[in-house]
């Protein structure tokens, strides 16, 4: 079981790095907190929901999904850093499991997500977020979010290993995640969008994730379900399928890229 041991050590390294640079944690939570405040108090007043408890109930699942979606950027830029410093060469020359470095990286980034989500949950509570479902179901929702972040972190592995430097990685990740999180039901109902965009928004994995979380947190999903499409009616199932597809594609691709990355 030496592969498990290797992965464990790499994951621990990740956490050790994090504990030495707490700024990383602070900055990965400041941005979503800013979004919470912006949407809750600036835009939220003009979005009518008919939801008991108000807009914030619908907003928080959106923020959670957006937050874990940024794992992609975190994983990608972390790997690009390692690559630049020659650390990947060192790890690849060691007699360890060749996938340990990337697997450890994705696991470490997921552990970071636990902390970030906890902070976001508290921030949400402060501004009035009160999930109406039972504790177990809410917990399942968070587990779902972590799983989504984990799947996306494998996309980040491929982006990180393919890019030439860390700044490019930042930009590429942003270009991927930004439209995905905004062309969705995360912050506003899709009903107001042009027809074509509605279809995109409903099939967008971010939307299905947000809708799934809303369901698990005990809300009616009023932000989707305009076209009566499969994803808007079965957000949980669709999200699971998306995650599996992402992992089935990106895990093998990323591992292959890692093994041959210098060729």
């Amino acid at each position: 079981m030496s592969a498990v041991n290797d992965i464990y050590i790499i994951t621990r390294r990740q956490l050790l790095l994090l504990s030495r640079v707490p700024e990383v944690l602070i900055f990965s939570t400041i941005q979503p907190v800013m979004f919470v405040l912006l949407f809750r108090y600036v835009f939220g007043g003009s979005i009518s929901t008919g939801q008991p408890g108000g807009y914030v109930q619908l907003l928080m699942p959106g923020i959670f999904v957006q937050t874990v979606a940024f794992t992609l950027a975190g994983t990608a830029s972390g790997l690009a850093e390692d690559m630049k410093k020659g650390l990947i060469d060192r790890f690849r020359s060691l007699p360890i499991s060749q996938s340990a470095l990337v697997i450890g990286r994705t696991l470490g980034d997921s552990l970071l997500n636990i902390v970030v989500l906890a902070v976001m949950g508290i921030a949400g509570y402060i501004v009035g977020w009160r999930p109406s479902a039972g504790l177990a179901t809410v917990a399942l929702g968070f587990l779902f979010l972590l799983f989504f972040g984990y799947a996306l972190s494998w996309v980040g592995v491929l982006v990180g290993l393919s890019a030439s430097d860390a700044r490019v990685v930042q930009n590429v990740s942003f270009i991927v995640t930004f439209p995905l999180t905004f062309l969705s039901n995360a912050f506003a109902p899709t009903t107001g969008m042009p027809r074509a965009l509605q279809y995109f928004a409903e099939w967008n994995p971010v939307s299905t994730m947000v809708a799934a979380c809303r369901e698990l947190f005990g809300l009616e999903n009023q932000f989707g379900a305009t076209a009566g499409s499969f994803p808007s009616e079965h957000p949980l199932t669709t999200s699971l399928i998306y995650m599996l597809i992402i992992m089935l594609i990106f895990i093998p691709l990323s591992l292959r890229k890692y093994r041959n990355y210098a060729d």
């Binding site: 050790l16 410093k85 020659g86 060469d89 060192r90 020359s93 007699p95 210098a262 060729d263």
Partner: protein, 327 residues
Amino acid sequence: MKSVIAENLVKTYDKGKVRALDGLSLDVEEGTVLSVLGPNGAGKTTVVRILTTLLRADSGSASVAGIDVIKNPEKVREVIGLSGQYAAVDEILTGYDNLVMFGELYHLGKKQAVVRANELLERFSLTEAAKRPIKTYSGGMRRRLDLAASLIVKPKVLFLDEPTTGLDPRGRQEMWGVIQELVKGGVTLLLTTQYLEEADQLADDIAVIDTGKVIARGTSDALKKQVGGERLEVVVEQVHVAKTMEIVAAVSGHKAALDEGLRLISAPVSTGSAALFEVLKALDSAGIHALDVGLKRPSLDDVFLSLTGHAAEEKKEEIAEKKRGRK
């Protein structure tokens, strides 16, 4: 017994446009030090990356400690140590943290990893800095720590890729001291360098490489002999450089080399002061006043110059970028 054998290695980048290695062969006898000497872009790093399983050659074969690099890369990784051009350690972590982590990755177990980390920190005079993050270290200290990380499990073959590039003179001296200690301990070492002095100081054997091929091989003394004993050197005004090169070449019977910055023309000679006299006479009748003229015992610089026709640090073009293989 040969600890390292590379035969006919070819590696190209950009779909064959850049030939980083062009049929390179070399070997290292067990317990000896081979220095692979060449300018930037000659293919040094590419050889090391192939031998340490980081890169696959397009063709050719290689083995380390009797293990085929292409067929059994996992086994090769168990017997090698690699320290690259960059200090490949986590900057944010302390020297101690880094070494313990690598020890654990070598499956020493936590306890053993701690013992080994402390031993290595002591041996490389890093005990005082052990609990400081690497980013506070000097360049020399980083390299020493990186070297320590490659020695956690005593490797059968150690690869050092330009271990002193980018260090100040003091850092370089320290690093040489450390490597000489290792050599005394009987390690098999393949070391790449672009510093001729470094190869001369540290290696038993030198392989001079240029444009992906070994162009000369032997001990430092043998290589010096190959250049033909002494060199004649003349410094003249810029306007006379071309004519002087002709004269020197005629006397020497070899192509004359030029250091443009110094306007220094040189060529190997075998007749000593007679050649000196001859050149002075020829310069005089051509109306050229030599600013400086003399005979010099050959240095490794001269070896390189006479083998490649260009000075050792001349070519720093795009190949250096390409050979790293990072797109």
